[in-house]
């Protein structure tokens, strides 16, 4: 079974070997900070969900943080991003305020969408996050539309769209591949392949074994990378973005990764073994980056200091959210139409 469809294989086994230029130490530390922030925000959210403080479906990206952080660093703040309901990490990586993020998930009036979007619909146009989407693959053509608009207006923005392995089998995905390739759109298709669609491993449902080869039928350049190594992600996205900005068209990146928490808060996880999780934990993104940093001369105290700082920030953000007011009932009636 190929790495694309087998959760028994580590992301480091990805097939495309990229030439990865080491990033400067301070950049890597910054990345570590953001990845740790995402991890702690999401762990706090899971905790809050367990305490009954969060209603509805909440999906975390614990174990997938490097995808978001590497990509955010390889794009410009004014590039446009769309992603899935599993989108906390992308918003935080692009700079969303953690307090606003947590408040939104808790349904408070101080959330970025006044409590109307919730965990599944993160949005922050100011930081280029044009929308997470609760429906699998729905966000993909939106990114293509943004790429088309940029191209038509002669602006050099790039659109980057994230989706899961399950999205590949949606029709609109293929409608979008065709348009993006035919029109040479400045778009990056980024597959966060965690090898599961909800509770079903992808090998049970996929007719193809190497997912990154799929869009080659449309003439789209593609690669399969280690999505848990932030430097690799950075390199891949930087290359894809450069191609897009140069007018060379779309790139498809299949990033192998693994979701360490359940599909959503409260998931019983009956579909995988502890052994499998233990295996995948050996190559989880925070650890990969931590080892890298230590190897390259960062001192453990430095990392501890970063963590302590983040810890404080997250606690403040949670407190801000919990103390925030609930939305007014009038909110149910506004923002349907412009008036």
């Amino acid at each position: 079974m190929s790495a694309s469809i087998s959760p028994q294989i580590l992301p480091s086994e990805a097939e495309t070997r990229l030439e990865v230029q080491p990033l400067p130490l301070d950049r890597l530390q910054q990345m570590y900070r953001t990845m740790f922030l995402i991890r702690r925000v999401e762990e706090s959210l899971l905790q809050a969900a367990e305490e009954g403080k969060i209603g509805g479906a909440m999906h975390t990206a614990i174990g997938m943080e490097a995808n978001a952080v590497g990509a955010a660093h390889a794009t410009r703040p004014d590039d446009y991003v769309t992603c899935t309901y599993r989108g906390h990490h992308h918003a935080l990586a692009r700079g969303m305020d953690p307090g606003q993020a947590i408040a939104e998930v808790m349904g408070r009036a101080t959330g970025f969408a006044k409590g109307k979007g919730g965990s599944m619909h993160f949005v922050d146009p100011e930081h280029g996050l044009m929308g997470a989407n609760g429906v699998v693959a729905a966000q993909v053509p939106h990114a293509a539309g943004m790429a088309l608009a940029a191209q038509l207006r002669g602006e050099d923005r790039v659109a980057l769209t994230f989706f899961g392995d399950g999205a590949l089998y949606q029709g609109v995905m293929h409608e979008t591949f065709n348009m993006a390739a035919k029109w040479k759109l400045p778009i990056v298709f980024y597959l966060e392949n965690n090898r599961y669609s909800e509770m079903t491993p992808i090998w049970r449902t996929s007719s193809v074994e190497a997912l990154y080869r799929f869009p080659r039928a449309y003439g789209i350049e593609s690669m399969q990378i280690d999505g848990n190594d932030v430097e690799v992600v950075y390199t891949a996205v930087a290359q894809a973005v450069e191609r897009a900005r140069a007018g060379e068209g779309p790139t498809f990146i299949e990033a192998l990764t693994y979701r360490l928490a359940g599909h959503m808060a409260g998931d019983l996880e009956t579909y995988r073994t502890e052994e499998e999780k233990a295996l995948q934990r050996q190559h989880e993104p925070l650890m990969v980056l931590r080892n890298k940093l230590l190897e390259r001369g960062a001192r453990p105290e430095e990392l501890e200091a970063i963590q302590a700082q983040v810890e404080e920030e997250v606690q403040a953000a949670v407190a801000f959210a919990e103390e925030s007011p609930w939305p007014d009932i009038a909110q149910a009636y506004t923002d349907v139409f412009y008036l």
């Binding site: 769309t82 006044k114 044009m130 929308g131 939106h142 293509a144 943004m146 979008t176 412009y338």
Partner: protein
């Protein structure tokens, strides 16, 4: 003033928008080089270039999904769906994405896009090509559904739709494309959305219609007025969702009788909604139950019997007379 068909009036409106607003982009299947299967976009690509008017692959969900992204970016996309019945393939992108993004984002997003699509009977195309789809989209909160009743109306409403901050589904009745000509000003003018029009004033009954059947309803009303010596107010809804309740309610409060006519089938239709509004807001003014003349709850009728099943003048006359009985 020139006398134009609805095809010409819409073509002219699109040309003016392209000329006056750089943000406007027009696209769809056969829309660019060929000028559309009904030639509504004829000559536009030649005049404005492929960056402004272009062909897409046959991919309805993709077309609307891409239009959503363009609108979020700040353009004013005008997407054509070749026949309204094909919009079912894009239903999700229309009803759950375009229509909902403003709400979902707490007002951060604007999706000012227009979807144009032909529909309607009387031209012998089978179901899916003829289907009335307005009720599906009327139920999708956050999108306006507009159906013009002729060339003059089409031009003014389309200008308003393209400049509207919200998504608009603009449904063009195929039978109206070339069957009548009207005087249409060459310059740009707008007709406000969400405002119905009193086509002719009257005192004894309010007849409510839209699209092609407005004309049949008007003819039926005039026949009954002439033969029975009554006076009938005729209203063109123009925007079928959200409804202009005020115009309808004010009229029925005065006349005490109402009839709703449309080509769409009956259950959970625009007529059902109009009647519910009348019941809520003008029930005590009613002298008779409100009736509706519609297609039956079947797929759009087969070509050979279309003319007898789609509401026609005789049926509307009969319903008017029954509603006018003391």
């Amino acid at each position: 003033m020139p006398k134009w068909t609805m095809v010409q009036a819409i073509n002219q409106a699109l040309a003016l928008e392209l000329e006056q607003d750089r943000r406007v982009r027009i696209f769809g299947e056969d829309v660019g080089r060929n000028g559309g299967v009904f030639r509504v976009t004829d000559g536009l690509q030649e005049r404005f270039g492929e960056d402004r008017v272009f062909d897409t692959p046959l991919a309805e969900a993709g077309i609307i999904g891409v239009a959503v992204g363009m609108a979020l970016y700040g353009l004013r996309p005008v997407a054509e769906i070749q026949f309204a019945g094909f919009a079912h393939l894009a239903f999700h992108q229309v009803a759950a994405q375009a229509a909902r993004l403003r709400y979902r984002s707490g007002g951060e997003h604007h999706v000012p896009l227009v979807i144009r699509a032909p529909f309607g009977g009387g031209v012998r195309t089978p179901e899916l090509h003829s289907d009335s789809v307005e009720a599906f989209y009327a139920h999708a909160e956050g999108i306006k559904v507009v159906i013009p009743s002729g060339p003059y109306e089409a031009k003014g409403l389309l200008h308003a739709a393209i400049q509207d901050p919200d998504p608009v589904f603009f449904l063009e009745h195929m039978k109206l494309y070339r069957s009548l000509r009207e005087e249409v000003p060459e310059e740009r003018y707008t007709i406000p959305l969400m405002e119905a029009r009193v086509v002719q004033p009257g005192n004894d009954l309010t007849a409510i219609a839209y699209g092609a059947l407005l004309h049949t309803t008007l003819a039926a009303a005039r026949q009954v007025e002439k033969e029975d010596g009554v006076s009938i107010e005729v209203i063109d809804l123009r925007t079928v969702h959200p409804l202009d309740e005020e115009t309808v309610v004010a009229s029925v409060n005065r006349t005490g009788r109402a009839l709703v006519v449309h080509e769409d089938s009956r259950a959970a239709s625009i007529a059902a909604e109009v009647i519910a509004v009348i019941n809520e807001r003008a029930l005590y003014a009613l002298l008779k139950p409100v009736r509706r003349v519609t297609c039956p709850d079947t797929p759009f009728p087969l070509p050979a019997v279309e003319d007898v099943i789609v509401p026609h003048q005789e049926r509307i006359v009969r319903a008017l007379r029954e509603t006018l009985e003391p």
